[in-house]
Point group: C2
Chain length 431, copies 2
């Protein structure tokens, strides 16, 4: 498993032409991937990427190229050691630490190494992880800065407690799939008629939760929410997502205005860095829902690392942990986050969509159910029906549930023809 | 003031050859700058940079190149608007937001724009800022995510209260200079004899505070601290700096071991992202010093943005705010941080050293004294005697104090011959 080449790509899809993916902070994203292939001397290849929304994707690619020498010529072997090699280089660490562009690039490389490992093992990643021993899983995590909230020993115990049920849960999840919710109905750029139609479609497709983007104009948001509630009825959960648009007071006021239509959660009400802000919002919304129930708080797609998630949990700032497969330092750091969430008893509902995020993150949720939290209660994986056709092993979502991935690897391999056509700026899609 | 060209440079100094700058997390830094020159149609030039410690500096340069189109061809004019143009581009914001490589590059560009503006005004930056109206200063700040801690109105009142004393303080600080402390004695790679000699030298040079690096080996740290205390006597403050090496418990234990020698502050005891961790460490050390006094907590050089500083202040997590001229989004975001620190009554003691950080950050402290906090109590600017010879307007530190900068601009201009000699990898210094 010696890495002999690290090939990097700047891949962009012109999604802004249709306003797919538009929200209060991101009006015109061009969904993109800084993509990497790790090649071994034995002819194996591992595929990984990080997700961006257009401009600056070339900086992530430059970061991949800057990190490549750290892993070229080495044997992957121990993936805990491999991960630390990328996150602990002292000179490069200065550029974060553990955040921003370098962290995105590290995610792509670590995920590619896991894809490679799972391919060689001839197993889908979630299944490979789900059969590792508690000790081996604990060794994958960088415990620095975590032990005031969770020790390796406590994590091992938590994993050990879940071992007896692994086989039954693995069988169960292969049969029923993992619940999904859809964001496809609620992009901010869509006209009311399209929201109404897509919301009804979501229910008839079997989804039990949908999500609407909010935050640009309160009157519009109230109208769209009422319309969506009318379309789906009272029993379907409707989450809303402000994409960091608000300050603390504004978030509380805005959600109070939406409360009569029963929002399930408010996602990214404010800056992803504002642990104390999220805590203040959550406290203020504890009894703000219809009937005096809570409006729940969720965040994660822009939370930089395990240290920020630790604090969001310590401060009782969130109800749902929305980890992202490619924002933090890949599978290893996401295992840390899954362990923290389980220790604090908070459901993980991953961020997905974009390019390939659904493909990757499903593996983490399946693993979470089988070997970490052992629960499906209030857990859903985001689903957006875009761009899956560019992957060799696209997600399969049926009747509102992700089917268990069966192909070897991390489902992160893009079709070779897409790598050519959407290469930026030289590919045919951009000329 | 229309910008017609954005020229970028990868500049590196081979400092690792002498172990200058070595600490518990950064054993072999090569002090570097991703450097930028903004040129106007009228022949003016503004100079800015961000600081890194070697590998990955090329990624910061790539980030500068990615941001350049946002400002090429525009009129600088309103520097609040200029700043928001760089921090709020929706596609690029995804790569942070407001952290990591993109934030470092934004710092360089905003600082270069201020250098340009001050050069055209024929004033040193600190003096230019110190004569702006409270309203104009408030308009420079991006208030998003801040108003739960400080409103623009409260900030304007705070600045207005300081207006009457501006002239007297400006005269005073030009006469006496701004107090400095030195880190030159305490690099981790230095042998005991050198620490002893340099500590004594610092006192005879007029410094009233020195700093030692700690965190690699506790026995070594105790020996070196005792040696330094013996060298400088009881009246010189000795701060220690762990450069993020510890978790919460380890930080408390380690500092308890050093307590008998009276550490003034512990800097970066843990992750810069760990607001709650710093708060826990500070609480535990409140009475840990000799005689039951506090060991104070300081951090900032790796704190990503104003939102993190806001929380460190809200959570009572730090005694000293160690802002850095080039880590956050330049002068504008540092004005926000100065205002927050003043509102919470915490002294700002900037991080400096590296390449050119002393040159830049002195302007912020002089401005803070004249127009924001109005106080010198417990305030010191870090000073390291390295690499100043590469700047056209190097700092002047005499008898332990920074002399007020007098040259027009932000003191951020590197000598043209240094830009050639230390260009990486093609410059003569690297061949």
């Amino acid at each position: 498993m010696r890495i002999t080449a690290v090939e990097t790509f700047d891949i962009r899809f012109p999604t802004s032409r249709e306003l797919d993916g538009s929200d209060a902070m991101n009006p015109d994203p061009d969904y993109s991937a800084a993509y990497v292939i790790l090649r071994t001397e034995d002819g194996w290849a591992g595929h990984g990427f990080t997700f961006t929304i257009g401009r600056g994707n070339e900086v992530c690619r430059a970061a991949l190229d800057a990190l490549a020498p750290l892993i070229t010529g080495i044997d992957i072997g121990d993936l805990g050691e491999f991960s630390r090699r990328l996150t602990h280089d002292s000179q490069i660490r200065w550029l974060g630490p553990e955040k921003g562009v370098m962290q995105l690039a590290v995610a792509a490389l670590i995920n590619a190494a896991w894809d490679l490992t799972a391919r060689i093992a001839n197993r889908p990643l979630w299944s490979l992880l789900s059969e590792m021993s508690p000790e081996a899983l604990v060794d994958l995590v960088d415990w620095r800065y975590l032990t005031d909230a969770l020790t390796p020993e406590a994590a091992r115990d938590l994993l050990s407690d879940a071992v007896p049920g692994r086989t039954a849960r693995s069988r169960h999840i292969r049969e029923v799939g993992y619940p999904a919710y859809t964001t496809s109905a609620g992009w901010l750029g869509y006209p009311d008629e399209k929201v109404d139609r897509l919301a009804r479609q979501a229910v008839s497709d079997g989804f039990r939760q949908i999500k609407l983007k909010v935050g640009a104009d309160q009157t519009d948001d109230v109208r769209r929410f009422a319309l969506a509630r009318n379309a789906v009825g009272p029993d379907i959960r409707i989450a809303v997502d402000a994409n960091q648009r608000w300050g603390v007071t504004e978030a509380i006021d805005w959600m109070t205005a939406l409360a009569p239509w029963d929002p399930w959660w408010i996602e990214e009400p404010t800056s992803p860095d504002d642990v104390l802000g999220h805590a203040a919002i959550r406290r203020a919304l504890t009894k703000a829902g219809p009937g005096g129930g809570p409006i729940r708080v969720a965040t994660g797609e822009h939370v930089a690392n395990r240290i920020m998630f630790k604090q969001l949990l310590q401060a009782d700032a969130i109800d749902f942990v929305q980890l992202d497969a490619c924002r933090v330092a890949g599978v290893n750091e996401n295992i840390a986050i899954l362990l923290l969430a389980a220790a604090f008893g908070r459901p993980v509902c991953p961020h997905a969509g974009g390019v390939g995020l659904c493909e990757a993150v499903q593996h983490l949720s399946f693993f979470d159910y089988v070997a970490v939290s052992g629960s499906l209660d209030d857990r859903v994986i985001e689903y957006v029906d875009h761009l899956h056709e560019h992957f060799t092993d696209p997600v399969v979502v049926e009747r509102g549930a992700y089917r268990a991935p069966t192909a070897p690897g991390f489902s992160t391999r893009m079709r070779p023809e897409s790598l050519v056509r959407y290469a930026y700026p030289e590919g045919a899609a951009w000329s």
